[in-house]
Symmetry: C2
Subunit: 333 residues, 2 copies
C-alpha cells in the first residue's frame, strides 16, 4: 500500500494536525513512458507553509485534496519504457509527501549517490544549498572583506550562506536561537560570531558584533531581526529577502518599520526565488561538492522517521527544534 | 535687519509653531573671501522634517538654536574678494531660512536666470528635479513600454518623475490626493491615469489602472500606498524609495507589510539620496531645461510669501494643500 499525506484544510496561522490527512491506496502503476519511484526522504522547508495559502505566489498553491508538495529523493522501482530513467536510478524532484509515486520524469533529476549520501541531495546539494549559493553570491553580491549577517544561521540555508561568505573572505555573523545553536554556528561552521536572538538584545548584540555595520544581510526570518539588521546596515548594503519564517504563520505580516534605512544608506532589499537559477544548479552542486570534500563546507541533516510523523516534524521548522536540514525518512526498513 | 528662523525644539510628531523661533539681528558683514547673499526664495521640502530629528541620517541633523536648513536662491549683495562670485550673481545652495547670510561659497552654485526664473532653480532644475531625474532613471531603471506608478504625483518630485517616464515611453499612473490634483496630473502633466487615494480604494484602483501590474514604483509617501503598490508589482519590479511623507510625523513608522511581494516577484526595493549624483547635476539640468523648452516637461511652483509665514507654509507639505514645488518668497518688495 501507498501512504499519502493530503492537504485537507487551508490553515489560518499555524497548521494543525487536521490540516492534513494520511490516506492509503494501492501503489500506482507507471504508464507507458513513466517510472514508479519509492520515496526514501522528503525535504521539510519553511516555504511549504506558503504553498498552503490560496494566494498568488511564485508557484501555484497546493490544491485541497492533493498530495502535499515536498522535495523528495527516491529510487526508481519500475520503468515503463522511460527514455532516461531505469530501475535503481536515484531521482530527486517534487515527489510530494507520499511513499510511492509515478512520474514522466518532468522536474526530476538523476543523482549519483556514490558521491554523496541521499540526504545531501535534498540539503546542501539540493534546494536549500542552491538557495544559499545563488542568494548570497548573485543577490547579496558579497565581496571579500565585507561584513555579512545571516539569520537562521544554524538552518539548512543560513548555515551554507555563512560558510560560503567565509570562503569568499567575508566577516560573517550569524543569528540563531539558543546557546547550543550559536555554539554550533561558531565552533563547527566557523562563523566569526553568532547572536542568540532568544537570549540577547538584538540591537546591542549587533552593535557589538558588527561594529562597522553590515554590508550584506541574508534574511530567512523577517520580523524583529530584519528590523534590527536594517538599523545597522552600511551605505550601499544589500538585503537578500530569502524568507520570513517568523511571519509565515502570522495572519498579518509585520512589515520592516526600519525600511527607511534603505533610503539613508542607499541600500537595496531584493527578493529571490531559487528556481530562477535552475540552469546553473549543476555548476553550483559541483562547486559545493568540492567545498564539502575539501572540508570547507560542513552540512548536517536532522532526520526524523515515518510519514505518520510528518506533522510533528513539520512543526520543528517553526519551533526551531532542529539543526541543519530537516528531513523526514519515509522508507521503512 | 536680518530675520532668521531658528530651530528651538525637536518635534515629536508634527512640528508646531513653537518648534521654531523667528529672531532678528544685524545683517552680517562678509569676511575676506566671502560674499553676502540676500535670499529671494527658499525651497520647502519634505526632507526638512527628517533633518530635524536627532538621529543618524544622510546628513547631520539641524542643531538646536541653529538656523533651519533649507535650499535657497538669492543674489550676491556684496563680495569681499570672493574668487568666483561677484555682486549681482545669483546663487543657489544651502542658505537656510534667513533673509541674509554670508558664505565662502561652499555648496553654492551660480545660475543663469536668463535661462529660467529663479524659482525653477530650486524646483525642477534644483534638488527635486535632480531627485526625479536620477531616481527614476538610475534607480528605477525604466525601460520603454514599462508600467510606472508614481506617488505624490502632483508634487515637486513626482510630477517630474512621471513626465520623464512618459518621455521615455512608459505607461505612467500617478497617485495624488483629491480630484483637482488628479485632473492636473492627467490633463496638464500628461500621465495616463491618476488614482485619488483620498477618494478611491487603492487596491481596486491600482488593479483597474495597472491591469498588467507595475514594473517600477517611485515612492514618495510610504504607508498604505507603498503596500498597495507592492501588491501589484510584476516580476523583477523596482521600487525606488525616495521618501515617505506619510510617515515623517509618525512616532512609529509603518513598515510595508506586503514586503514579501519582493520575494515572490524577485523584485528590488532601493533607497536613494540625490546628493550621490552631484557630479552629474549639470548634465541633468541641461537635459531638463531642454525638455522644458520643448514643452515636454511642465513644472509649477506654488509660491507663498514672508518668512513670518514659514510655519503655515511648511505644514502644506504634509496637508498636501499645494501643487508642484512649494516655495517661500523671503524678499520683500
Amino acid at each position: 500500500m501507498n501512504k499519502q499525506l493530503i492537504l485537507k484544510n487551508r490553515p489560518v496561522g499555524m497548521p494543525t494536525e487536521d490540516t492534513w490527512s494520511l490516506v492509503e491506496s494501492a501503489i500506482p502503476e507507471p504508464k507507458e513512458g513513466e517510472v514508479l519511484v519509492q520515496t526514501h526522504y522528503i525535504s521539510l522547508d519553511p516555504a511549504m507553509r506558503g504553498w498552503m495559502n490560496d494566494s498568488k505566489s511564485y508557484i501555484p498553491p497546493v490544491a485541497l485534496d492533493d498530495v502535499m508538495r515536498a522535495g523528495t529523493i527516491g529510487v526508481v522501482l519500475k520503468s515503463n519504457n522511460h527514455p532516461n530513467f531505469n530501475e535503481g536510478d536515484v531521482l530527486t524532484g517534487w515527489g510530494g509527501v507520499q511513499q510511492y509515486f509515478t512520474t514522466n520524469g518532468e522536474g526530476h533529476f538523476k543523482v549519483d549517490t556514490s558521491l554523496a549520501p541521499m540526504t545531501k541531495y535534498i540539503g546542501a546539494l539540493g534546494m536549500p544549498g542552491m538557495t544559499a549559493y545563488f542568494g548570497i553570491q548573485e543577490v547579496g553580491k558579497i565581496k571579500e572583506g565585507e561584513v555579512v549577517l545571516v539569520s537562521g544561521a544554524a538552518g539548512a540555508v543560513g548555515s551554507v550562506v555563512g560558510q560560503i561568505a567565509k570562503i569568499k573572505g567575508c566577516t560573517v555573523v550569524g543569528v540563531a536561537g539558543g546557546p547550543d545553536k550559536c555554539k554550533y554556528v561558531v565552533e563547527t561552521l566557523g562563523f566569526d560570531a553568532c547572536v542568540d536572538y532568544k537570549n540577547e538584545n538584538l540591537y546591542t548584540a549587533l552593535k557589538q558584533n558588527c561594529p562597522k555595520g553590515i554590508d550584506v544581510y541574508f534574511d530567512n526570518v523577517g520580523g524583529e531581526i530584519l528590523d534590527a539588521a536594517l538599523s545597522r546596515i552600511r551605505r550601499h548594503a544589500r538585503i537578500v529577502i530569502c524568507g520570513a519564517i517568523s511571519q509565515y504563520n502570522e495572519t498579518s505580516v509585520q512589515g520592516p518599520k526600519n525600511y527607511l534605512s534603505l533610503l539613508v544608506n542607499r541600500a537595496t532589499m531584493q527578493g529571490m526565488v531559487v528556481f530562477d537559477y535552475a540552469d546553473r544548479y549543476k555548476e553550483a552542486a559541483m562547486q559545493m561538492g568540492m567545498w564539502m570534500m575539501e572540508g570547507k563546507l560542513k552540512t548536517e541533516e536532522d532526520v526524523y522517521e515515518g510519514i505518520e510523523n510528518f506533522y510533528e516534524t513539520f512543526t520543528r521548522l517553526f519551533s526551531g527544534d532542529k539543526r541543519g536540514k530537516l528531513v523526514l525518512k519515509l522508507i521503512e526498513e
